[in-house]
């Protein structure tokens, strides 16, 4: 989840690498460093903290080839010594991933006289390449990589030579004119080029300024396809907002419209997917669905469970990807993997496991050409554009949108939803983006509530059925960005334990939109009110009863019960944002967290 950048060309490498690293900062930010070949030797500069801290300590370096890194610690503490690049003789390496057998390699190399200065696994790699390096850098890299167990994306600098390689960790090559780039993520180099090549596992790239050559593990040259990226860098800029997160919350109506575009035909009551490879008869044959995901995507998947069960009548298990190890999948089951980046290591590992047992696979992801898209049968893209804030917002909403569409589509094919009901559902669904715009237009209540409760140490979010996953998501958002301890609970579960924690100092956010379980949620609200907890209810705008039981109410526009979680989501996002803002937290880059987690 760290960021890697490499450059070789005509321009001063340091400035370009620093600029690119800034765009990768959301991937990790506890330390950073660069290595530049100045014509005679490799100069390395590192610093603990953020890129701007690194920028302050870098002198003028003249050199047109170099590598850079932003780190998020997995091995060894975040400090200057453990920051990348790591060097060994005239070799400098930046690395993303985990080397599992680094202890053995470290012992072996120590015996050969290599001296280790850091606590990182990456240093092993630098020494190992040095150990094999005679005259051909590619051969040295290939030999070193053969000894390594684990995952990696690396860029290696030796003199003015630049080599990149990957296994189970993302890496791309950017093609410019008289200059070429290496990066772990597309936004890093979008400013310079839109032509990229996706490196596959066990491929090595030799990056020269005029051309890039690709090799397999046996050093046979291979041909690669060039992709053109149609993203705007706009999305990587804050455009007037104080934080990416708020900007991205505001982009949700657009993200939803884009996710719906060309897929909804309301008059016909039809949904059309381009990337779905499941025939109608296969959809009818699905016996069960397993949804695998992590973090926010897990919460989306959890709502997906209710949707598939209610709308399509299919049994669904939702599993945290890192716990999905013992697949009980059968050929009749469908595995849906949800990953914003398409690079989430835990999700990819679980997916591979599931695939080996012969079930069908489908991915919901936001990133075209990401690793996950190459591993599954069907891909459905959320069209949210790049998301920079570490706390997922618009990609969560788009994931929900895709899950709604899929569940409705499956339900119709399986005869659970009539054409007419489908039409009515699609009309309501199409109206959701405008209803979000309306919510965003009036945030006063939320801001007020946030300022009152910003100093609380604990928060509870409660909801039943469809609103339970949103309670989880609300708690996750608040934890992530405001550092307040928060729990999401099924409202009926409080009395089985957590009620003991409820006092006048634990605000409770109750998602109480109109629906089947409304009366029961009101009863649960009374339970917490009896313990004097301040309660904020998220309720339907037409609900005139709720204010009798709670301290504050935030209203959401009226929609069908099944779609109301989308609107409640926006409220919990804004609530978390404004609480974190009132607490002066670094909202876009919370401590200890990274945007896409590419280690297991």
């Amino acid at each position: 989840m760290c960021g890697i950048v490499g450059y070789k060309g005509k321009r001063q490498a340091a400035a370009i690498i620093i600029d690119s690293l800034k765009r990768l900062e959301y991937r990790g930010y506890d330390s950073a460093g660069i290595a530049i070949f100045n014509g005679k030797a490799i100069e390395v500069h590192k610093e603990k903290g953020r890129i701007i801290d690194l920028e302050k300590v870098i002198p003028d370096i003249s050199g047109t080839v170099g590598i850079g890194h932003t780190r998020w610690a997995t091995h060894g503490r975040p400090n200057k010594i453990n920051a990348h690049p790591h060097t060994s003789g005239d070799i400098a390496v930046v690395h993303n991933g985990i080397i599992e057998n680094y202890q053995q390699l470290k012992e072996k190399l120590s015996q050969s006289g290599y001296n280790f200065v850091s606590e990182t696994d990456t240093e092993v790699l630098a020494h190992l390449i040095n150990y094999y390096h005679k005259s051909d850098l590619i051969e040295a890299v290939l030999s070193a990589l053969k000894e390594i167990k684990g995952s990696y994306a690396i860029a290696v600098l030796c003199g003015n030579e630049l080599v990149a390689a990957r296994k189970d960790s993302p890496l791309i090559i950017g093609l410019g004119e008289g200059e070429n780039f290496v990066a772990s993520d597309i936004p890093a180099i979008l400013k310079y080029t839109r032509k990229v090549i996706f490196l596959n596992d066990l491929e090595v790239a030799y990056v020269d300024q005029d051309r890039v050559t690709f090799f397999d593990t046996e050093k046979r040259e291979i041909e690669k396809k060039v992709n053109t990226i149609d993203w705007n860098l706009e999305a990587a800029e804050k455009s007037g907002y104080e934080h990416f997160m708020l900007k991205e919350i505001h982009e949700q109506p657009r993200a939803l419209h884009d996710t719906f575009a060309g897929r909804i035909y309301e008059l016909e009551g039809n949904i059309v997917f381009d990337g779905l490879k499941l025939t109608e008869s296969r959809i009818k044959d699905i016996s069960r669905i397993s949804i695998i995901a992590c973090g926010t995507s897990y919460n989306a998947g959890f709502l997906g469970k209710y949707l598939f069960e209610q709308l399509s009548g299919i049994h669904v298990d939702v599993e945290i990807a890192s716990e999905f190890r013992y697949a009980h999948s059968s050929p009749g089951s469908l595995v849906i993997a949800i990953s914003q980046s398409g690079e989430t290591a835990d999700t990819l590992a679980a997916l591979r496991e599931a695939k080996s047992s012969g079930c069908r696979t489908l991915a919901i992801t936001n990133v075209t050409g990401s690793t996950i898209t190459r591993e599954v049968e069907s891909v459905i893209y959320t069209r949210s554009g790049p998301e920079i804030g570490v706390a997922a917002t618009k990609t969560f909403i788009s994931q929900l949108a895709v899950l709604y569409l899929l569940a409705l589509y499956f339900g119709k094919i399986r005869g659970k939803i009539s054409q007419d009901r489908m039409k009515r559902m699609l009309v309501s669904l199409k109206h959701i983006p405008a209803q979000i715009t309306r919510l965003l237009n009036d945030k006063e209540m939320i801001i007020k509530f946030a300022s009152v409760f910003k100093s609380s140490n604990d928060f509870f979010f409660i909801g039943r059925t469809l609103n339970y996953p949103i309670a989880l998501e609300g708690a996750l958002k608040l934890k992530e960005i405001s550092y307040i301890h928060a729990e999401g609970y099924a409202a009926g579960e409080l009395k089985h334990g957590p009620l003991a924690l409820i006092t006048q100092n634990t605000p409770v956010v109750a998602i109480a939109t109109k629906g089947l379980t409304y009366d029961k949620v009101v009863n649960n609200i009374k339970e917490v009110k009896a313990r004097e907890a301040p309660v904020l209810a998220i309720a339907d705008e037409k609900d005139s009863e709720i204010e009798k039981y709670v301290d504050s109410v935030i209203r959401v526009p009226t929609t069908e019960e099944i779609f109301s979680p989308v609107l409640s989501t926006v409220v919990v996002q804004l609530l978390s944002y404004y609480i974190a803002k009132a607490r002066n937290c670094p909202i876009d880059q919370p401590r200890n967290l990274a945007k896409s987690v590419t280690v297991e």
Binding site: E237, A434, T437, N441
Partner: protein, 401 residues
Amino acid sequence: MKAVILAAGEGLRCRPLTLTRSKVMLPVANKPLLEHIINAVAENGIREITLVVGYKRERIMDHFGDGLEFRVNIDYVFQDAQLGTAHAVKQAKDHVEGDFLVLNGDNLVEADTIGDLLRGKRGSVTLLAVEREQTMGYGVVISENDRVMKIVEKPKEMVSHLVNAGVYIFSQEIFDEIDETPLSETGEYAITDTIQSMIQKGKIVSMVESRSMWMDAIHSWDLLKANAVMLERCKKDIKGRVEKGATIKGEVMIGENSIIRAGCYIVGPAVIGKNCDIGPNTVILPSTAIGDNTSINSSVEIQNSMLMNDVRLGSGSYISNSIIGASNSIGPHFSTEVSRDLMIEMKGILHHAELLGTVTGDDNAVANRVLIRAGKMIANSCSIESGVIVGRDIPPGSIVV
């Protein structure tokens, strides 16, 4: 040269449309006023734009982002209190160097209008003047050749037909002059007061008269006129799908993923946004703009009107000379009455409207068979029940039975 566009004001006289967005975001031919202005600026090779924003600024930022989509670089400065045009210009001080262009975000201009001003630049201030038959309510420019002698704000009698268009080229010295500008009687720091004082000090304030387009929308219904003018410039461009049996005549633009169903009859100039579902058998007549994600059911007739984004309109409805705000859900057999020479009362003052049906704000839910009397308006987030004849203005959040 950089451009500063003033976009912080609310636009009180454009209510109810400005209850949920600022005036610069009101659409004309499916694009916000401000977007037309930014396009005109960009066509003159000015790519660095500072937007001074305030009221409902997030709507502006959400639409324009950093400007890349509009081929410009945009940065934003905030004017928290609406203390007048001079105060607004001052906010941009750290964002401009050398001479810079200043425009109002709610006056429609074309590229040539700005080109005329740029070519005629002279002295400390160059201002754009346009000829108007009626000068009531404007600042009137009194000049000798191209040298401005005086700007008379809202004159009671006819002194000249040239009015100040609110488009300027300033040099850096304007900022010192703004600091010396006193608060006006109306409690604002007005840039015209700053310019007036510069004239009195003997500084060169020149003017350029342009015959290219300059339009201001004072009232919400003036947007219909601006919409018609801008639609005249559209060229036929059909990206969506037109079913067999639908007729498209003249210059009609249809956005991506939109469907025009059989039996529809659309006469340009007209524009239909993306992701729309129109018809079957719906008639759309000239000078009509229909926003994105809009669904219009069967047998509807619309003429010389604007429907903003996300509107849903029931079958058998009739809309003429009207503006329907975003995200209205309107049931079947909705009808607008149209009348000439209406006097519309706002805050106790009567305003004239030449030809008008209705203007509605955003997010209203209108049930079946509702008729709106000519010139009556519905604010936002209202709920109108079946069979109602709306004969008065409806305030925000009302439920009308």
